[in-house]
């Protein structure tokens, strides 16, 4: 589909933990305004691959290009410099802090004197939460007091607030009810239309069929293949995930 430069191009990435090849020479890419699903069983290596992009792990080898430029990502701070934002499956929230403190964690707004400006952060937090989850009211409670969906919206707000160009969503709907899942779907459509590229890790084939443009399937740390979602059926994807079998008559890159 593309003559453009990919937003992200991960080439030949590999990493091992104690002799186990968690990610075994995998290449994936992502274009602006595109949603790429990452599929596979537990332990297929999709979360590990994505943690290399978000800086949580350092790869043993391989290269990452962002907008065609070689990117050097060694820790989460580096990833943020490239406007890569991640919504982790565990949400990665500090439970003892309130929503605003979590939203700005690591990037606090400060006053002219260099002190943390809690009031300004709370005001900003109210603005973005008003857009993402208008029912959200618990601004002064620690996030441990929030429901699963509310916590999720804090994690999403954190990724969206800082003008992400590349968004990684690891099982964003796993802990959500139907209403909130719908909210996340709408959000993904909206971000897509703004030209943001999204890696979506999911177990749910229906989510992937509905939300993604392409799907990359992993098994045992290796890439089975990447397909255009419109060219394949649910069963094709399932057999890629379970059997590692590429569908026939479809372009698999």
């Amino acid at each position: 589909m593309n003559a453009q430069t990919p937003l992200v191009d991960m080439r030949d990435i590999h990493i091992s933990f104690g002799g186990i090849k968690a990610v075994d020479h995998v290449s994936v890419d992502l274009y602006p305004g595109e949603v790429v699903g990452l599929l596979g069983h537990n332990g297929a290596g999709k979360s590990t691959l994505i943690k290399i992009l978000s800086g949580a792990y350092a790869a043993d080898g391989g290269e990452i290009y962002v907008n065609g430029q070689k990117a050097d990502i060694n820790n989460p701070r580096d990833a943020r410099k490239y406007n890569i934002e991640t919504i982790y499956q565990t949400l990665a929230l500090a439970d003892n802090l309130d929503a605003a403190s979590n939203l700005f964690l690591g990037r606090e707004l400060v006053t002219a004197a260099g002190f943390v400006d809690d009031d300004a952060m709370e005001a900003e937090c109210r603005k973005i939460m008003g857009r993402l989850n208008p029912n959200f009211q618990k601004f002064n409670d620690p996030v441990s007091a929030l429901s699963g969906g509310q916590r999720q919206s804090v994690a999403i707000a954190r990724a969206v607030y800082f003008n992400a160009k590349i968004l990684i969503m690891d099982e964003p709907t796993a802990a959500l009810g139907p209403h909130e899942t719908q909210m996340v779907s709408e959000l993904i459509q909206q971000l897509k239309s703004e030209g943001i590229g999204i890696f979506l890790i999911s177990h749910d084939i229906h989510d992937v069929m509905e939300l993604c443009d392409r799907a990359s399937v992993m098994k045992n740390g290796q890439l089975v293949g990447t397909v255009d979602v419109k060219d394949v059926t649910d069963d094709d994807l399932l057999s890629m995930i379970i059997l590692g079998k590429k569908p026939e008559g479809v372009t698999v890159s």
């Binding site: 949580a56 565990t90 949400l91 990665a92 500090a94 003892n96 964690l105 943390v116 709370e122």
Partner: protein, 421 residues
């Protein structure tokens, strides 16, 4: 609690845990006051209590950060001893040869080098914990032995005395106070500053459209703060210096005084140091990025790391800060005694940890306040000196303090479970 009372407290926005601690403190004070036939709540005893609390309380503020990030520091008592030995030797045997005996700069150089050494040693421990990932329990247990041994080695076990006269003022005593006038000035300035801070904070909250306390609640709080600060200055200014000591001090300072000259103590210098440390540490914990990262890391270390916080470097900074505060505590403790012996700071690590924990710092990490640790230290010291006044044997004192520690933590656990915090 009845509904109107609860509504009243909620409007004030006071923490229930804080009220509980103050309640416990008042209970202990009243109990000893009656048990000693009214000798406990006197200006004299409260002055002594404030001075005795200062050293442990200064360290307890740093221990809050250490425990909040799920670490522990068992080495502070030994480190206090070692730093005391270093500072004692410096002002007695080394500096007089360089700048001259009794030179005005001796105490400044001593304190500066002491704090630098404390920060350096603390940072080194933090580096082993953060970057080499040896558990803090082990590193500081090692430090506990190393520093106590090293302190002995500095002077081959000899007690260092007498310390520099100006340095000794930092430990309190009849001369080591602000005196009457300055105590009043400090009390009033502190009260005005507190009111100003509350007003400014209210204004910024209103500007951002965040709900504020009702005006009567804010007014009540301001009244309380003013009464406490000015009241403390008044109390310390009611403790008379014995006439003979007053005459001696006046003579030493070259004052021309009448026959019936009377003099009052005022706020002790170590207490001023403690207040300054507590204020700075509160600002650090609430209004700086460093403080925010301390609590975030304690709440969820993985999340902190993924948010781009350099948690290893943070550990180094926390232990460096702990080392610096231990040095300040060492100045207070050694100056108060006027001498540095081998046993300076023995068991202080346990008093400091107990103070922080009684003050509501959770060993599971993520929760703890500076004011809590200071009140915790005050509760511990009140128990100890109260029992001494009543005439409880020293071994029995330890038994009681130990049981109170466990009881306090149990109450805290029950409270957390009930409130779901």
């Amino acid at each position: 609690m009845q509904k109107p009372a609860r509504h009243f407290l909620t409007s004030l926005g006071l923490d229930v845990r804080l009220l509980g601690m103050i309640g416990a403190l008042v209970f202990i004070w009243l109990m000893f006051h009656f048990a000693t036939d009214g000798r406990f709540l006197t200006p004299r005893n409260l002055f002594n209590l404030s001075v005795q609390t200062a050293s442990v309380a200064v360290m307890a503020t740093g221990m809050v950060f250490v425990i909040v990030t799920r670490h522990i520091d068992l080495s502070v008592g030994s480190l206090l001893g070692l730093l005391g030995m270093i500072m004692g030797t410096l002002q007695l045997n080394i500096l007089p040869d360089i700048v001259g005996l009794g030179h005005w700069s001796i105490w400044i150089i001593t304190v500066f080098i002491g704090i630098s050494a404390g920060v350096a040693i603390g940072a080194f421990q933090g580096w082993i914990i953060g970057y080499l990932t040896v558990p803090a329990f082990i590193v500081t247990l090692g430090g506990f032995l190393v520093y106590r041994g090293a302190a002995w080695w500095v002077t081959s076990g000899q007690t260092v005395a007498p310390l520099d006269p100006t340095y000794k003022l930092l430990g309190g005593g009849a001369e080591g106070t602000l005196g009457e006038t300055l105590s009043w000035v400090l009390g009033v300035i502190a009260a005005l500053a507190a009111v100003a801070v509350m007003l400014i904070s209210r204004r910024t909250k209103e500007r951002h459209g965040i709900q504020v306390k009702p005006i009567w609640a804010e007014g009540t709080l301001m009244g309380l703060v003013v009464a406490l600060t000015v009241g403390f200055a008044w109390l310390m200014n009611s403790y008379k210096v014995p006439d003979r000591a007053a005459a001696r001090i006046a003579k030493a300072r070259g004052w021309d005084v009448p026959e019936d000259f009377t003099m009052y103590h005022g706020i002790a210098i170590p207490v001023v140091i403690l207040l300054a440390v507590a204020i700075v540490m509160t600002i650090v914990s609430r209004r700086t990025r460093f403080g925010r990262y301390v609590y975030a890391t304690g709440g969820n270390p993985e999340a902190a790391e993924l948010s781009g916080i350099n948690t290893r470097l943070l550990t180094v900074k926390i232990f460096a800060l702990m080392g610096g505060l231990t040095a300040i505590a060492s100045v207070i403790a050694s100056a108060r005694l006027g001498a540095v012996g081998n046993d300076l700071g023995t068991l202080d690590e346990l008093r400091v940890i107990a103070a922080a924990v009684i003050g509501g710092t959770a060993l599971s990490g993520g929760a703890g306040t500076i004011y809590g640790a200071v009140i915790g230290a005050l509760i511990m010291q009140s128990l100890q000196s109260g029992m001494a006044m009543v005439g409880v044997d020293a071994p029995l004192q330890s038994v009681v303090v130990g049981m109170v520690l466990v009881l306090a933590v149990y109450i805290d656990i029950v409270y957390r479970r009930r409130t779901g915090a």
